[in-house]
Amino acid sequence: MSWLETFRTGFNGVLSHRLRSALTVLGILIGIAAVILTVGLGEGAQGQVTSEITALGSNVLTITPGSSTSSTGIRQALGTASTLTVSDVAALSNPTVAPDVKAVAPITSSSETLTAGSSTWTTSVQGSTPTWLTVRGRTVAQGRFIDNQDVTDHGAVAVLGATTASELFRGVDPVGQAVDVNGIPMTVVGVLTSTGSSSSSSTTNPDDMVVIPISTGAERIFGGTTRNSVSTIAVQARSAGDLTAAYQEADHLLLQLHGITTPANADFTITSEQSLISTATSVDRTLTILLAGVAGISLLVGGIGVMNIMLVSVTERIREIGLRKALGATPRVIRRQFLVEASVLGLIGGALGALLGIIGATFLPGVVGNPITISPTAMVGALVVALAIGISFGVYPASRAAHLAPIDALRNE
């Protein structure tokens, strides 16, 4: 008997028990759709995190004070020391010692209360230099940014984020207006272009902030033990490809400046957006694996459903099997027929599940607010898995059918 005839017989077997076949297919369908959607959801979340972090600037290194070791050998906690200074910034800005560094922005910051007329608003105030704008990849919507003159003169000028500006001045053009920062009167010289960030937290919303000259901040606002210390140094590499070189240059330079011989004792930490991305994606990947595992179990249940139905089918069609054997079907032909039926069920379930997955990926993001990425690999994989489930769970029922004795099968009433 040819394969073509076997397939025709198998298809007829599936079609002649429509309701039962449909219910079996449903089990596979739900399993496959669940796997496709959870994997798609995980991949979508990964993509979203990556693109959000990339928007911060993929070629930027952030240097923060690390733990320092005192002369007695006691290591202090991370971030407690103010080990970074303006001289570090000056050295990093030198193109001969750090040729792969394009721009350096020292940043000091604290949360302060701003007053303009009757409006009061508490937000993050960052003291920095004109290079902040390029390093952070921002632009000015109105007025100007702080310039070198402001830094030299300790100028009482401030540039507001879009949200801060609208909260303080509500419709009035803020440029030229006066604002009190922690009681110190300053003049608004510009407003930053909105990034459109939806974050409501004042610590992470890049539109809710104020930038003032670093000198003014150190002198009049932040105070502190040493006027020369900075809380963060943002270093921009020439390109994303030069990031590693810039990292090594900054690391080497700072170790040298701080007189540290053992890199393990470094009193600063350099992080790149790359390391943030890898941390974030590894978290997402773990979640995806977990979800896909749960979905995989539902697929297994679907497979057991196929086996169950095939066993019922063998018992129910015992006369048909007996007759086919009497008419000359060998055990091999019978086994093939039932295997084809099982794999047809698996394949139809897989195809419909993939279809449901695509439909879900189109409409679900509007409901749950998360993007779902469906890869062709996942699609093909799902179909292969569905077929494999059909075949592997069909083997046992098929061999049971194949080994029925024709007389026992025919005798059955």
């Binding site: 008997m1 040819s2 005839e5 017989t9 007829n12 002649s16 006369r319 048909e320 007996g322 007759l323 086919r324 054997k325 009497a326 008419l327 000359g328 079907a329 060998t330 055990p331 091999r332 032909v333 004795a405 024709p406 007389i407 025919l410």
Partner: protein, 247 residues
């Protein structure tokens, strides 16, 4: 491509003899209990014969039918079907013998409900590997021969019992088998349909087919040319006594 079923039958050891049973026994074992259903049956049936095997239930007639039909193998003894020793064949080889040499007609018709009449008839040819066009043509011919040319596309559920049994007869003769084996073919039919099917059997006999009819009904058995009685697993040639006793 010529279907294997179409090729000329291989030369036979003893020409003209279709069935040759030599001291065939069949013992069924259920746990420690052994039941002898056939206790040494010897039998020879020649080509073109119309033989009825008659016996009450429990006489071993179903067992004999299973062995003659290669649906089961004897516990001891030898069975030659058209010259081939089929008593020690593998299951796959037996399937091929059934396919090529034997046509079955069952009491329950045993037609597949999801298929039309002609698809049921072509089924043995499917397993023989015959090409599609040829299968259809031969199935149509066989149906025409049993007088159902107008009902080829009907499903079993749309046919009367007599018509269904005629479809089954068409299926039995479509492969041009050496032997047609009918197990109580009239058992599920009213007397008119039964007479109809027996007339069909007569026609097949007249056209030279070898027929073995298994029944418990003496009237049915009397349609044949040779009556064999079976009782307690033993065969008696022309069992007049039994025929008398039930008359």
């Amino acid at each position: 491509m010529t279907a294997p079923a179409l090729s000329a039958p291989p030369p036979r050891a003893s020409a003209g003899v279709v069935i040759e049973l030599e001291r065939v026994t069949k013992v069924y074992r259920t746990g420690s209990i052994a039941v002898a259903a056939l206790r040494g049956v010897s039998l020879s049936i020649s080509e073109g014969e119309y033989v009825a095997v008659i016996g009450p239930s429990g006489s071993g007639k179903s067992t004999l039918m299973h062995i003659l039909g290669c649906l089961d193998t004897p516990s001891s003894g030898a069975y030659h079907l058209a010259g081939d020793n089929v008593s020690r064949m593998s299951e796959a080889d037996l399937a091929e013998v059934r396919n090529r040499r034997i046509g079955f007609v069952f009491q329950q018709f045993n037609l597949l409900a999801s298929m039309s009449a002609w698809q049921n008839v072509e089924l043995p040819l499917v397993y023989a590997g015959a090409p599609r066009a040829e299968r259809r043509e031969r199935a149509m011919d066989a149906l025409a021969r049993v007088g159902l040319a107008g009902r080829v596309h009907h499903r079993p559920g749309e046919l009367s019992g007599g018509q269904q049994q005629r479809v089954a007869v068409a299926r039995a003769l479509v492969t041009e088998p050496d032997l047609i084996l009918a197990d109580e073919p009239t058992g599920n039919l009213d007397s008119v349909s039964a007479a109809d099917v027996l007339r069909l059997m007569d026609e097949l006999h007249e056209s030279g087919r070898t027929l073995v009819l298994i029944t418990h009904d003496a009237e049915v058995a009397s349609a044949s040319g040779r009556v064999l009685g079976i009782r307690d697993g033993l065969l008696t040639e022309n069992d007049e006594r039994y025929m008398e006793s039930i008359r």
